[in-house]
């Protein structure tokens, strides 16, 4: 499938780490003794509670002080950690380029 983000670029490791932390905290995940990938864990959480993804996205918005554009509110974007991190980086950079008071 074609990625929704036209030029995803390389996400920073720091962003990916912060997203992972928000993911674990917002969904109250207990990862002790588990070895699941981000995607598998997200699928599992959403399978149990479809609203979980809403908590995760809103927690990301709060953490990075960004707002997801409507077209990026897509499960395929959220499931792909790299694409998600690249998008978050892009939105953070955009926010930083906007002078205060115009955000």
């Amino acid at each position: 499938m074609e990625p929704l983000l036209k030029d995803p670029g390389s996400p920073s490791r720091e962003t990916m780490g912060r997203i992972w932390r928000v993911f674990v905290e917002s969904l109250n995940l207990n990862l002790t003794g588990e070895d699941l990938s981000y995607e598998a864990k997200l699928d599992e959480s959403v399978g149990l509670d479809s609203v979980a993804v809403l908590d995760f996205v809103t927690a990301l918005e709060k953490e990075f002080r960004i707002t997801f554009e409507p077209e990026m509110l897509n499960i395929d974007v959220v499931r792909d950690l790299k694409e998600l991190a690249a998008y978050v980086d892009q939105q953070v950079a955009r926010r930083q380029n906007i002078p205060d008071g115009q955000q």
């Binding site: 959403v46 609203v51 993804v53 809403l54 409507p70 509110l73 897509n74 395929d76 959220v78």
Partner: protein, 316 residues
């Protein structure tokens, strides 16, 4: 809340062994093949005549479910047992015309066939849209919902419908559940592609996307079950209500407008009520309990006012 015997009998019970084929499956088979093919070219009046002719079979087939529903209807609507039984029958007939209307909605020219006799309270919808945070149209399981949604879309107000891809069907056999139900769902999707199923992992994000774009989402708030449910009485009986929608309202800050659609494609009315007050001050933990009773009571009132148009009476 206390529940009466009527309430208890109205509740779904756990089934034992499901037969391979039931009369319900045969009726659906006739609907999905010969009737669907006839609906491509038959005029509506003739299709409705077929519906009228089939009504005695459907009513007979559902006689036990009607008998179970009658005490519940009598209790919830404050009517006599005889009147309750009549309402159960009318609700069932409404369901027949609803399924026939769905076949009409498959026609390319279907929007021309939608005869809306009036829209009341449009100003309430406009006011809610003007907030700019999207609108959830709160509805019950009324027979005219789908034609109303198609009509609104044709008027430039598309609304994303939220549905259950595999609704409970206690009257169906294994054949019906395996082959006919998926086909019926496919037809519904073709009739209204602007919908999302609660089983879709991206369902919530699709709803959020529509709301953030300032659009409309139509939710049948009286549906039973879901992944995350809350027990709350509804029409005097215990009910398991999906709580996801309340989370969405809390997070998106969207407006909530009750909508009521009555009738069938040959003549229906739509009513929008004033925006519901939402207790936005409630915490994340208390938001559902602070708002759920109010949302449900609005739909309960609609059902009691128009019980013959609500299609879940005979569902259990």
């Amino acid at each position: 809340m206390e529940t009466s015997n009527a309430a208890a009998t109205a509740q779904p019970s756990s089934g034992n062994t499901t037969p391979l084929v039931t009369l319900n499956d045969l009726l659906w088979l006739i609907y999905l093949y010969p009737i669907r093919l006839l609906a491509i070219f038959l005029p509506r009046w003739l299709l409705y005549t077929l519906g009228r002719l089939s009504a005695p079979i459907v009513q007979f087939h559902a006689r036990n479910r009607k008998a179970r529903a009658a005490p519940w209807i009598a209790q919830a609507c404050g009517v006599t047992p005889a009147e309750a039984l009549r309402i159960a029958g009318q609700s069932l007939s409404g369901g027949i015309y609803r399924t026939l209307d769905e076949l009409l909605l498959l026609r390319p020219s279907s929007t021309k066939m939608l005869h809306c006799t009036g829209v009341d309270g449009n100003e309430h919808l406009e006011e809610a849209i003007a907030r700019g945070k999207g609108v959830i149209l709160l509805v019950g399981h009324f027979c005219a919902n789908r034609v109303a949604v198609r009509y609104l879309a044709a008027q430039g107000r598309p609304a994303l419908s939220v549905h259950n891809q595999s609704p409970a069907n206690r009257a169906g056999g294994r054949f019906g559940k395996e082959f006919l139900q998926p086909l019926a769902v496919q037809l519904q999707e073709r009739a209204n592609p602007d919908q999302v199923f609660i089983q879709d992992p991206g369902c919530v994000l699709k709803i959020m996307r529509r709301l953030r774009s300032g659009g409309l989402v139509i939710v049948q708030v009286d549906g039973r079950g879901g992944k995350k449910v809350i027990d709350h009485p509804f029409l005097g009986v215990p009910w398991r209500v999906a709580s996801g929608i309340y989370e969405i309202v809390r997070v998106t800050d969207c407006a909530v407008v009750p909508m009521l659609a009555l009738g069938r494609s040959s003549g229906f009315r739509i009513r929008f009520d004033p925006m519901l007050p939402v207790d936005r001050a409630a915490s994340r933990e208390t938001f559902v309990s602070a708002n759920l009773p109010n949302f449900l009571s609005v739909v309960e009132k609609q059902i009691v006012e128009h019980p013959q148009e609500w299609r879940l009476w005979n569902h259990f």
